[in-house]
Symmetry: C2
Protein backbone atom coordinates (compact mmCIF):
# COMPACT_ATOMS: atom_id res chain seq x y z
CA UNK A 1 0.00 0.00 0.00
CA UNK A 2 1.33 3.43 -0.91
CA UNK A 3 1.10 6.36 1.47
CA UNK A 4 -1.63 8.72 0.34
CA UNK A 5 -2.51 12.12 1.67
CA UNK A 6 -5.49 10.55 3.52
CA UNK A 7 -3.19 8.35 5.61
CA UNK A 8 -1.10 11.24 6.83
CA UNK A 9 -1.78 12.74 10.25
CA UNK A 10 -3.26 16.22 10.18
CA UNK A 11 -0.81 19.03 10.88
CA UNK A 12 -1.34 22.67 11.75
CA UNK A 13 1.14 25.48 11.09
CA UNK A 14 1.02 28.72 13.10
CA UNK A 15 2.65 31.99 12.07
CA UNK A 16 3.22 33.93 15.28
CA UNK A 17 4.33 37.55 15.42
CA UNK A 18 4.34 40.73 17.52
CA UNK A 19 3.21 42.58 14.39
CA UNK A 20 1.54 41.82 11.07
CA UNK A 21 3.00 38.27 10.80
CA UNK A 22 3.94 39.05 7.19
CA UNK A 23 7.56 38.02 7.75
CA UNK A 24 6.64 34.78 9.55
CA UNK A 25 4.07 33.94 6.86
CA UNK A 26 6.50 34.67 4.05
CA UNK A 27 9.30 32.42 5.24
CA UNK A 28 6.93 29.85 6.72
CA UNK A 29 5.02 29.46 3.42
CA UNK A 30 8.31 29.28 1.63
CA UNK A 31 9.44 26.34 3.80
CA UNK A 32 6.05 24.59 3.69
CA UNK A 33 5.95 24.67 -0.13
CA UNK A 34 8.87 22.21 0.07
CA UNK A 35 6.44 19.70 1.61
CA UNK A 36 3.50 20.42 -0.63
CA UNK A 37 2.21 16.84 -0.57
CA UNK A 38 1.38 17.23 3.09
CA UNK A 39 -1.94 18.78 4.08
CA UNK A 40 -1.39 21.73 6.41
CA UNK A 41 -3.98 23.86 8.16
CA UNK A 42 -2.53 27.35 8.54
CA UNK A 43 -3.25 30.09 11.07
CA UNK A 44 -1.68 33.46 11.69
CA UNK A 45 -1.52 34.73 15.27
CA UNK A 46 -0.86 38.44 14.80
CA UNK A 47 -0.09 41.32 17.15
CA UNK A 48 1.02 38.98 19.97
CA UNK A 49 2.52 41.89 21.91
CA UNK A 50 1.80 41.21 25.58
CA UNK A 51 2.23 38.40 28.10
CA UNK A 52 -1.55 37.83 28.05
CA UNK A 53 -1.67 37.55 24.25
CA UNK A 54 1.34 35.20 24.33
CA UNK A 55 -0.37 32.97 26.91
CA UNK A 56 -3.51 32.90 24.73
CA UNK A 57 -1.40 31.92 21.74
CA UNK A 58 0.26 29.15 23.71
CA UNK A 59 -3.14 27.86 24.80
CA UNK A 60 -4.50 27.87 21.25
CA UNK A 61 -1.45 25.96 20.01
CA UNK A 62 -1.78 23.42 22.83
CA UNK A 63 -5.48 22.86 22.11
CA UNK A 64 -4.70 22.35 18.43
CA UNK A 65 -2.01 19.80 19.34
CA UNK A 66 -4.57 17.85 21.35
CA UNK A 67 -7.21 18.10 18.64
CA UNK A 68 -4.87 17.13 15.78
CA UNK A 69 -3.02 14.43 17.67
CA UNK A 70 0.25 15.84 16.23
CA UNK A 71 2.31 18.76 17.42
CA UNK A 72 1.82 21.95 15.42
CA UNK A 73 4.69 23.70 13.65
CA UNK A 74 5.17 27.25 14.95
CA UNK A 75 6.97 29.77 12.73
CA UNK A 76 7.82 32.67 15.02
CA UNK A 77 9.18 36.16 14.47
CA UNK A 78 8.45 37.24 18.06
CA UNK A 79 10.99 39.90 18.94
CA UNK A 80 10.75 40.13 22.74
CA UNK A 81 12.57 37.27 24.49
CA UNK A 82 9.93 37.03 27.26
CA UNK A 83 7.09 36.53 24.76
CA UNK A 84 9.17 34.06 22.75
CA UNK A 85 9.79 31.98 25.86
CA UNK A 86 6.06 31.70 26.61
CA UNK A 87 5.07 30.54 23.11
CA UNK A 88 8.12 28.25 22.88
CA UNK A 89 6.75 26.33 25.88
CA UNK A 90 3.73 25.22 23.79
CA UNK A 91 3.42 21.61 22.62
CA UNK A 92 4.88 22.47 19.22
CA UNK A 93 7.92 22.36 17.00
CA UNK A 94 8.96 25.97 17.62
CA UNK A 95 10.98 27.47 14.76
CA UNK A 96 12.40 30.76 15.95
CA UNK A 97 13.31 32.91 12.94
CA UNK A 98 14.29 35.79 15.14
CA UNK A 99 16.08 34.79 18.33
CA UNK A 100 18.67 32.52 16.77
CA UNK A 101 19.66 34.94 14.04
CA UNK A 102 19.60 38.01 16.26
CA UNK A 103 22.08 36.42 18.66
CA UNK A 104 24.50 35.65 15.85
CA UNK A 105 24.11 39.21 14.52
CA UNK A 106 24.66 40.78 17.94
CA UNK A 107 27.96 38.95 18.24
CA UNK A 108 29.04 39.75 14.68
CA UNK A 109 28.13 43.44 14.93
CA UNK A 110 29.25 43.82 18.54
CA UNK A 111 26.03 45.74 19.16
CA UNK A 112 22.92 44.85 21.15
CA UNK A 113 19.62 44.51 19.27
CA UNK A 114 17.00 47.11 20.12
CA UNK A 115 14.30 44.45 20.79
CA UNK A 116 11.64 46.78 19.54
CA UNK A 117 8.49 45.20 18.25
CA UNK A 118 6.94 45.62 14.85
CA UNK A 119 9.70 47.56 13.16
CA UNK A 120 9.77 45.73 9.88
CA UNK A 121 6.27 46.46 8.63
CA UNK A 122 5.63 49.43 10.86
CA UNK A 123 5.68 53.11 10.06
CA UNK A 124 9.39 53.72 10.30
CA UNK A 125 9.98 56.57 7.95
CA UNK A 126 7.39 59.16 6.96
CA UNK A 127 9.20 60.30 3.82
CA UNK A 128 9.63 56.80 2.55
CA UNK A 129 5.99 56.06 3.33
CA UNK A 130 4.89 59.13 1.38
CA UNK A 131 7.05 58.25 -1.61
CA UNK A 132 5.47 54.80 -1.72
CA UNK A 133 1.97 56.33 -1.61
CA UNK A 134 3.00 58.76 -4.34
CA UNK A 135 4.20 55.84 -6.46
CA UNK A 136 0.79 54.16 -6.07
CA UNK A 137 -0.96 57.40 -7.03
CA UNK A 138 1.27 57.78 -10.05
CA UNK A 139 0.55 54.21 -11.13
CA UNK A 140 -3.21 54.63 -10.75
CA UNK A 141 -3.12 57.83 -12.81
CA UNK A 142 -1.08 56.16 -15.53
CA UNK A 143 -3.13 53.02 -15.80
CA UNK A 144 -4.13 51.79 -19.24
CA UNK A 145 -2.57 54.67 -21.12
CA UNK A 146 -5.34 57.05 -20.05
CA UNK A 147 -2.70 59.75 -19.87
CA UNK A 148 0.65 59.90 -21.63
CA UNK A 149 1.54 63.11 -19.82
CA UNK A 150 4.38 62.87 -17.32
CA UNK A 151 5.63 59.58 -18.73
CA UNK A 152 9.10 61.03 -18.33
CA UNK A 153 8.48 60.87 -14.58
CA UNK A 154 7.79 57.13 -14.80
CA UNK A 155 10.55 54.81 -13.56
CA UNK A 156 9.28 52.04 -15.80
CA UNK A 157 6.52 51.60 -18.40
CA UNK A 158 4.85 48.21 -18.86
CA UNK A 159 3.72 47.53 -22.41
CA UNK A 160 1.42 44.76 -23.62
CA UNK A 161 -1.99 43.93 -25.05
CA UNK A 162 -5.15 44.24 -22.97
CA UNK A 163 -5.59 41.83 -20.00
CA UNK A 164 -2.08 40.40 -19.79
CA UNK A 165 -1.60 41.45 -16.13
CA UNK A 166 0.04 44.86 -16.61
CA UNK A 167 -2.08 46.60 -13.99
CA UNK A 168 -1.51 44.24 -11.03
CA UNK A 169 2.21 44.08 -11.88
CA UNK A 170 2.42 47.89 -11.92
CA UNK A 171 0.58 48.09 -8.60
CA UNK A 172 2.92 45.54 -7.05
CA UNK A 173 5.91 47.53 -8.30
CA UNK A 174 4.60 50.72 -6.73
CA UNK A 175 3.29 49.25 -3.46
CA UNK A 176 6.20 46.92 -2.75
CA UNK A 177 9.15 48.69 -4.34
CA UNK A 178 7.97 52.32 -4.42
CA UNK A 179 8.59 52.35 -8.18
CA UNK A 180 6.59 54.73 -10.39
CA UNK A 181 5.18 52.24 -12.85
CA UNK A 182 3.05 53.30 -15.80
CA UNK A 183 0.97 50.99 -17.94
CA UNK A 184 0.66 51.30 -21.68
CA UNK A 185 -1.71 49.05 -23.70
CA UNK A 186 -0.88 48.18 -27.31
CA UNK A 187 -3.82 48.92 -29.58
CA UNK A 188 -4.81 47.20 -32.81
CA UNK A 189 -3.21 50.05 -34.74
CA UNK A 190 0.10 49.44 -33.00
CA UNK A 191 -0.18 45.69 -33.58
CA UNK A 192 -1.10 45.75 -37.26
CA UNK A 193 2.36 46.81 -38.47
CA UNK A 194 3.59 46.11 -35.63
CA UNK A 195 5.24 49.29 -34.40
CA UNK A 196 6.00 51.01 -31.17
CA UNK A 197 3.55 53.82 -30.33
CA UNK A 198 5.08 57.21 -31.18
CA UNK A 199 4.47 58.57 -27.68
CA UNK A 200 6.70 55.83 -26.23
CA UNK A 201 9.65 56.20 -28.59
CA UNK A 202 11.68 58.44 -26.31
CA UNK A 203 11.31 56.03 -23.38
CA UNK A 204 12.92 52.91 -24.87
CA UNK A 205 15.11 52.32 -21.80
CA UNK A 206 12.11 52.18 -19.47
CA UNK A 207 9.96 49.81 -21.52
CA UNK A 208 9.23 46.27 -20.35
CA UNK A 209 6.94 43.89 -22.21
CA UNK A 210 4.26 41.70 -20.64
CA UNK A 211 2.69 38.79 -22.47
CA UNK A 212 0.74 35.57 -21.82
CA UNK A 213 -0.49 32.47 -23.64
CA UNK A 214 -3.28 33.00 -26.22
CA UNK A 215 -5.46 30.39 -24.47
CA UNK A 216 -5.05 32.13 -21.10
CA UNK A 217 -5.81 35.51 -22.64
CA UNK A 218 -8.92 34.10 -24.26
CA UNK A 219 -10.17 32.71 -20.92
CA UNK A 220 -9.66 36.03 -19.17
CA UNK A 221 -11.26 38.10 -21.95
CA UNK A 222 -14.12 35.62 -22.29
CA UNK A 223 -15.00 36.19 -18.63
CA UNK A 224 -15.03 39.93 -19.29
CA UNK A 225 -16.76 40.21 -22.67
CA UNK A 226 -18.28 36.80 -23.51
CA UNK A 227 -18.29 35.74 -27.19
CA UNK A 228 -16.90 39.04 -28.43
CA UNK A 229 -14.34 39.40 -31.18
CA UNK A 230 -12.04 40.74 -28.43
CA UNK A 231 -12.31 37.38 -26.65
CA UNK A 232 -11.98 35.15 -29.72
CA UNK A 233 -9.01 32.82 -29.91
CA UNK A 234 -8.02 34.19 -33.32
CA UNK A 235 -7.88 37.74 -32.01
CA UNK A 236 -5.98 36.79 -28.83
CA UNK A 237 -3.52 34.72 -30.81
CA UNK A 238 -2.98 37.51 -33.34
CA UNK A 239 -2.41 40.18 -30.68
CA UNK A 240 0.01 38.04 -28.68
CA UNK A 241 2.03 37.06 -31.75
CA UNK A 242 2.29 40.63 -33.01
CA UNK A 243 3.16 42.03 -29.57
CA UNK A 244 5.92 39.45 -29.09
CA UNK A 245 7.24 40.19 -32.56
CA UNK A 246 7.31 43.89 -31.69
CA UNK A 247 9.18 43.22 -28.44
CA UNK A 248 11.79 41.12 -30.28
CA UNK A 249 12.28 43.71 -33.02
CA UNK A 250 12.66 46.55 -30.55
CA UNK A 251 14.82 44.56 -28.12
CA UNK A 252 12.29 45.02 -25.33
CA UNK A 253 12.57 42.41 -22.56
CA UNK A 254 9.31 40.53 -22.25
CA UNK A 255 7.90 38.24 -19.56
CA UNK A 256 4.83 36.06 -19.47
CA UNK A 257 2.22 36.17 -16.71
CA UNK A 258 1.27 32.62 -17.75
CA UNK A 259 4.71 31.43 -16.64
CA UNK A 260 5.57 33.75 -13.77
CA UNK A 261 3.86 35.31 -10.79
CA UNK A 262 3.42 39.07 -10.40
CA UNK A 263 6.13 38.99 -7.71
CA UNK A 264 8.60 37.26 -10.03
CA UNK A 265 8.00 39.67 -12.91
CA UNK A 266 8.21 42.71 -10.62
CA UNK A 267 11.42 41.49 -8.93
CA UNK A 268 12.96 40.74 -12.29
CA UNK A 269 12.10 44.20 -13.67
CA UNK A 270 13.55 45.91 -10.58
CA UNK A 271 16.65 43.75 -11.03
CA UNK A 272 17.10 44.54 -14.73
CA UNK A 273 16.30 48.24 -14.50
CA UNK A 274 18.86 48.89 -11.77
CA UNK A 275 16.17 51.07 -10.17
CA UNK A 276 16.66 49.65 -6.75
CA UNK A 277 20.18 50.93 -6.43
CA UNK A 278 18.93 54.46 -7.03
CA UNK A 279 15.85 54.02 -4.84
CA UNK A 280 17.77 52.58 -1.93
CA UNK A 281 20.26 55.40 -1.98
CA UNK A 282 17.55 58.04 -2.05
CA UNK A 283 15.14 56.48 0.39
CA UNK A 284 16.01 53.05 1.71
CA UNK A 285 12.82 51.12 2.24
CA UNK A 286 12.05 49.16 5.37
CA UNK A 287 8.45 48.22 4.62
CA UNK A 288 9.22 45.09 2.66
CA UNK B 1 34.41 59.96 23.05
CA UNK B 2 31.09 58.38 22.18
CA UNK B 3 30.71 56.00 19.26
CA UNK B 4 29.04 57.77 16.37
CA UNK B 5 27.80 56.36 13.10
CA UNK B 6 30.90 57.80 11.39
CA UNK B 7 33.25 55.72 13.53
CA UNK B 8 31.56 52.46 12.66
CA UNK B 9 33.01 50.27 9.93
CA UNK B 10 30.92 50.07 6.79
CA UNK B 11 28.85 46.91 6.43
CA UNK B 12 27.05 45.41 3.48
CA UNK B 13 24.06 43.08 3.67
CA UNK B 14 23.19 40.73 0.78
CA UNK B 15 19.82 39.08 0.26
CA UNK B 16 20.51 35.99 -1.83
CA UNK B 17 17.81 33.82 -3.38
CA UNK B 18 17.04 31.35 -6.17
CA UNK B 19 13.91 33.41 -6.86
CA UNK B 20 12.59 36.91 -6.21
CA UNK B 21 14.51 37.35 -2.92
CA UNK B 22 11.30 38.67 -1.35
CA UNK B 23 11.51 36.18 1.51
CA UNK B 24 15.21 36.87 2.20
CA UNK B 25 14.59 40.63 2.04
CA UNK B 26 11.57 40.45 4.33
CA UNK B 27 13.25 38.56 7.15
CA UNK B 28 16.62 40.23 6.57
CA UNK B 29 15.12 43.74 6.81
CA UNK B 30 13.23 42.65 9.86
CA UNK B 31 16.46 41.58 11.57
CA UNK B 32 18.44 44.64 10.43
CA UNK B 33 15.81 47.04 11.82
CA UNK B 34 16.94 45.79 15.23
CA UNK B 35 20.31 47.42 14.54
CA UNK B 36 19.03 50.60 12.99
CA UNK B 37 21.84 52.76 14.33
CA UNK B 38 24.28 50.90 12.09
CA UNK B 39 24.70 52.02 8.48
CA UNK B 40 24.09 49.13 6.10
CA UNK B 41 24.46 49.05 2.34
CA UNK B 42 21.93 46.54 1.01
CA UNK B 43 21.92 44.46 -2.17
CA UNK B 44 19.61 41.77 -3.44
CA UNK B 45 21.11 38.97 -5.52
CA UNK B 46 18.06 37.46 -7.20
CA UNK B 47 17.45 34.43 -9.39
CA UNK B 48 20.71 32.75 -8.30
CA UNK B 49 19.63 29.46 -9.85
CA UNK B 50 22.77 27.90 -11.35
CA UNK B 51 26.31 27.04 -10.32
CA UNK B 52 27.60 29.90 -12.49
CA UNK B 53 25.27 32.46 -10.91
CA UNK B 54 26.21 31.17 -7.44
CA UNK B 55 29.92 31.55 -8.24
CA UNK B 56 29.27 35.11 -9.46
CA UNK B 57 27.40 35.89 -6.24
CA UNK B 58 30.26 34.51 -4.16
CA UNK B 59 32.72 36.64 -6.08
CA UNK B 60 30.64 39.79 -5.62
CA UNK B 61 30.39 39.15 -1.88
CA UNK B 62 34.14 38.54 -1.63
CA UNK B 63 34.95 41.74 -3.51
CA UNK B 64 32.63 43.69 -1.22
CA UNK B 65 34.36 42.17 1.83
CA UNK B 66 37.69 43.41 0.51
CA UNK B 67 36.33 46.84 -0.36
CA UNK B 68 34.49 47.34 2.96
CA UNK B 69 37.20 45.84 5.13
CA UNK B 70 34.45 44.00 7.05
CA UNK B 71 32.72 40.77 6.16
CA UNK B 72 29.26 41.20 4.64
CA UNK B 73 26.14 39.68 6.18
CA UNK B 74 24.44 37.24 3.78
CA UNK B 75 20.75 36.47 4.30
CA UNK B 76 20.07 33.41 2.18
CA UNK B 77 16.94 31.55 1.14
CA UNK B 78 18.80 29.44 -1.43
CA UNK B 79 16.93 26.16 -1.70
CA UNK B 80 19.39 23.87 -3.50
CA UNK B 81 22.11 22.56 -1.17
CA UNK B 82 24.81 22.74 -3.90
CA UNK B 83 24.15 26.45 -4.52
CA UNK B 84 24.00 27.14 -0.80
CA UNK B 85 27.41 25.52 -0.31
CA UNK B 86 29.01 27.75 -2.96
CA UNK B 87 27.70 31.03 -1.53
CA UNK B 88 28.38 29.90 2.05
CA UNK B 89 32.08 29.69 1.14
CA UNK B 90 32.18 33.47 0.60
CA UNK B 91 33.98 35.71 3.10
CA UNK B 92 30.73 36.52 4.90
CA UNK B 93 28.54 35.83 7.88
CA UNK B 94 26.19 33.43 6.09
CA UNK B 95 22.73 33.27 7.66
CA UNK B 96 20.90 30.36 6.09
CA UNK B 97 17.14 30.82 6.55
CA UNK B 98 16.39 27.72 4.56
CA UNK B 99 18.79 24.87 5.15
CA UNK B 100 18.70 24.84 8.93
CA UNK B 101 14.92 24.98 9.16
CA UNK B 102 14.32 22.54 6.32
CA UNK B 103 16.43 19.88 8.05
CA UNK B 104 14.47 20.25 11.27
CA UNK B 105 11.19 20.06 9.32
CA UNK B 106 12.27 16.98 7.37
CA UNK B 107 12.92 15.17 10.62
CA UNK B 108 9.70 16.34 12.25
CA UNK B 109 7.54 15.49 9.25
CA UNK B 110 9.46 12.34 8.34
CA UNK B 111 9.32 13.48 4.73
CA UNK B 112 12.07 14.71 2.40
CA UNK B 113 11.84 18.29 1.10
CA UNK B 114 11.26 18.63 -2.62
CA UNK B 115 14.22 21.05 -3.04
CA UNK B 116 12.39 22.82 -5.80
CA UNK B 117 13.40 26.38 -6.44
CA UNK B 118 11.19 29.42 -6.40
CA UNK B 119 8.01 27.85 -5.12
CA UNK B 120 7.02 30.50 -2.63
CA UNK B 121 6.53 33.44 -4.97
CA UNK B 122 6.13 31.43 -8.13
CA UNK B 123 3.03 30.56 -10.07
CA UNK B 124 1.85 27.58 -8.04
CA UNK B 125 -1.89 27.65 -8.49
CA UNK B 126 -3.69 29.16 -11.47
CA UNK B 127 -7.07 29.45 -9.72
CA UNK B 128 -5.62 31.21 -6.75
CA UNK B 129 -3.68 33.52 -9.05
CA UNK B 130 -6.85 34.39 -10.95
CA UNK B 131 -8.79 35.08 -7.77
CA UNK B 132 -6.09 37.49 -6.65
CA UNK B 133 -6.20 39.30 -9.99
CA UNK B 134 -10.00 39.42 -9.74
CA UNK B 135 -9.69 40.96 -6.28
CA UNK B 136 -7.43 43.69 -7.71
CA UNK B 137 -9.89 44.33 -10.54
CA UNK B 138 -12.74 44.52 -8.06
CA UNK B 139 -10.83 46.99 -5.91
CA UNK B 140 -9.93 49.19 -8.89
CA UNK B 141 -13.56 49.27 -9.99
CA UNK B 142 -14.76 50.16 -6.51
CA UNK B 143 -12.25 52.87 -5.83
CA UNK B 144 -13.49 56.16 -4.39
CA UNK B 145 -17.15 55.21 -4.41
CA UNK B 146 -17.38 55.60 -8.19
CA UNK B 147 -19.79 52.70 -8.15
CA UNK B 148 -21.89 51.40 -5.29
CA UNK B 149 -23.10 48.49 -7.39
CA UNK B 150 -21.96 45.04 -6.27
CA UNK B 151 -20.94 46.26 -2.83
CA UNK B 152 -22.55 43.07 -1.54
CA UNK B 153 -19.73 41.24 -3.34
CA UNK B 154 -17.11 43.20 -1.39
CA UNK B 155 -15.36 41.36 1.43
CA UNK B 156 -14.64 44.63 3.17
CA UNK B 157 -15.40 48.33 2.60
CA UNK B 158 -12.96 51.01 3.76
CA UNK B 159 -14.62 54.26 4.80
CA UNK B 160 -12.95 57.61 5.43
CA UNK B 161 -12.49 61.16 4.21
CA UNK B 162 -10.52 61.93 1.05
CA UNK B 163 -6.73 61.25 1.11
CA UNK B 164 -6.46 59.20 4.29
CA UNK B 165 -4.83 56.21 2.55
CA UNK B 166 -7.92 54.13 1.73
CA UNK B 167 -6.82 53.34 -1.83
CA UNK B 168 -3.32 51.95 -1.14
CA UNK B 169 -4.70 49.96 1.82
CA UNK B 170 -7.43 48.46 -0.41
CA UNK B 171 -4.85 47.60 -3.07
CA UNK B 172 -2.62 45.92 -0.51
CA UNK B 173 -5.59 43.91 0.77
CA UNK B 174 -6.41 42.70 -2.73
CA UNK B 175 -2.85 42.09 -3.97
CA UNK B 176 -1.49 40.47 -0.82
CA UNK B 177 -4.53 38.78 0.69
CA UNK B 178 -6.82 38.35 -2.34
CA UNK B 179 -9.52 40.26 -0.46
CA UNK B 180 -12.17 42.17 -2.45
CA UNK B 181 -11.76 45.57 -0.88
CA UNK B 182 -13.96 48.52 -1.82
CA UNK B 183 -13.30 52.12 -0.95
CA UNK B 184 -15.99 54.57 0.10
CA UNK B 185 -15.22 58.26 0.67
CA UNK B 186 -17.26 60.26 3.18
CA UNK B 187 -18.59 63.44 1.61
CA UNK B 188 -19.35 66.76 3.30
CA UNK B 189 -23.03 65.82 3.36
CA UNK B 190 -22.22 62.66 5.30
CA UNK B 191 -19.96 64.57 7.67
CA UNK B 192 -22.25 67.49 8.45
CA UNK B 193 -24.67 65.47 10.61
CA UNK B 194 -22.54 63.10 10.77
CA UNK B 195 -24.32 60.04 9.44
CA UNK B 196 -23.53 56.87 7.62
CA UNK B 197 -24.31 57.02 3.88
CA UNK B 198 -27.61 55.26 3.14
CA UNK B 199 -26.05 53.01 0.51
CA UNK B 200 -23.69 51.55 3.16
CA UNK B 201 -26.28 50.85 5.86
CA UNK B 202 -26.79 47.21 4.93
CA UNK B 203 -23.05 46.51 5.04
CA UNK B 204 -22.28 47.46 8.66
CA UNK B 205 -20.34 44.23 9.29
CA UNK B 206 -17.92 44.92 6.44
CA UNK B 207 -17.13 48.54 7.26
CA UNK B 208 -13.71 49.60 8.50
CA UNK B 209 -12.75 53.21 9.16
CA UNK B 210 -9.51 54.88 8.10
CA UNK B 211 -8.34 58.16 9.57
CA UNK B 212 -5.18 60.26 9.99
CA UNK B 213 -3.97 63.38 11.80
CA UNK B 214 -5.39 66.73 10.59
CA UNK B 215 -1.85 68.08 10.06
CA UNK B 216 -0.88 65.08 7.93
CA UNK B 217 -4.08 65.33 5.91
CA UNK B 218 -3.44 69.01 5.32
CA UNK B 219 0.10 68.29 4.03
CA UNK B 220 -1.15 65.65 1.61
CA UNK B 221 -4.08 67.73 0.34
CA UNK B 222 -1.88 70.81 0.07
CA UNK B 223 0.42 68.93 -2.31
CA UNK B 224 -2.62 68.00 -4.39
CA UNK B 225 -4.67 71.20 -4.42
CA UNK B 226 -2.51 74.01 -3.01
CA UNK B 227 -4.25 76.70 -0.94
CA UNK B 228 -7.72 75.33 -1.57
CA UNK B 229 -10.46 75.17 1.04
CA UNK B 230 -10.11 71.36 0.70
CA UNK B 231 -6.49 71.65 1.90
CA UNK B 232 -7.11 74.17 4.71
CA UNK B 233 -6.36 73.07 8.26
CA UNK B 234 -9.86 74.02 9.43
CA UNK B 235 -11.47 71.81 6.78
CA UNK B 236 -9.12 68.84 7.41
CA UNK B 237 -9.63 69.12 11.16
CA UNK B 238 -13.41 69.33 10.78
CA UNK B 239 -13.60 66.32 8.46
CA UNK B 240 -11.36 64.15 10.64
CA UNK B 241 -13.25 65.02 13.82
CA UNK B 242 -16.65 64.35 12.27
CA UNK B 243 -15.50 61.09 10.66
CA UNK B 244 -14.07 59.80 13.93
CA UNK B 245 -17.27 60.79 15.73
CA UNK B 246 -19.26 58.87 13.12
CA UNK B 247 -17.05 55.77 13.54
CA UNK B 248 -17.48 55.86 17.33
CA UNK B 249 -21.26 56.30 17.12
CA UNK B 250 -21.65 53.46 14.66
CA UNK B 251 -19.17 51.19 16.40
CA UNK B 252 -16.96 51.03 13.29
CA UNK B 253 -13.34 50.06 14.03
CA UNK B 254 -11.02 52.79 12.89
CA UNK B 255 -7.26 52.93 12.30
CA UNK B 256 -4.92 55.80 11.54
CA UNK B 257 -2.48 55.84 8.63
CA UNK B 258 -0.50 58.43 10.62
CA UNK B 259 0.22 55.78 13.26
CA UNK B 260 0.34 52.55 11.27
CA UNK B 261 1.69 51.32 7.96
CA UNK B 262 -0.54 50.01 5.19
CA UNK B 263 0.65 46.50 6.02
CA UNK B 264 -0.31 46.84 9.67
CA UNK B 265 -3.78 48.19 8.89
CA UNK B 266 -4.40 45.52 6.24
CA UNK B 267 -3.21 42.68 8.50
CA UNK B 268 -5.33 43.98 11.34
CA UNK B 269 -8.45 44.18 9.14
CA UNK B 270 -7.90 40.64 7.84
CA UNK B 271 -7.49 39.53 11.45
CA UNK B 272 -10.63 41.25 12.72
CA UNK B 273 -12.84 40.33 9.78
CA UNK B 274 -12.07 36.60 10.02
CA UNK B 275 -11.87 36.70 6.22
CA UNK B 276 -8.67 34.75 6.05
CA UNK B 277 -10.17 31.61 7.49
CA UNK B 278 -12.73 31.61 4.69
CA UNK B 279 -10.21 32.53 2.00
CA UNK B 280 -7.71 29.89 3.05
CA UNK B 281 -10.33 27.18 3.01
CA UNK B 282 -11.54 28.13 -0.42
CA UNK B 283 -8.24 28.82 -2.06
CA UNK B 284 -5.16 28.59 0.11
CA UNK B 285 -2.65 31.17 -1.02
CA UNK B 286 1.02 30.50 -1.51
CA UNK B 287 2.03 33.80 -3.04
CA UNK B 288 2.63 35.62 0.22
Amino acid sequence: MTTTVENLPKRTAFFVSDGTAITAETLGHSLLTQFERLPFAQHSLRFIDSVERAEEARQQIDETAQFDGTRPIVFSTLVKPELRRIVARSASLFLDFFGTNIQVLEEELACPASSTTGRSHGLTDVNQYSSRIEAVDFTLHHDDGTTTRNLDEADIILVGVSRTGKTPTCLYLSLHYGVRAANFPLTEDDLETPRIPVSLKTYRQKLFGVTTLPTRLQQIRQARLPDSRYASFAQCDFEIRQAELLFRRMGITCQSTAMKSIEEIAASIVDQSGLERIERRQHPRAHV
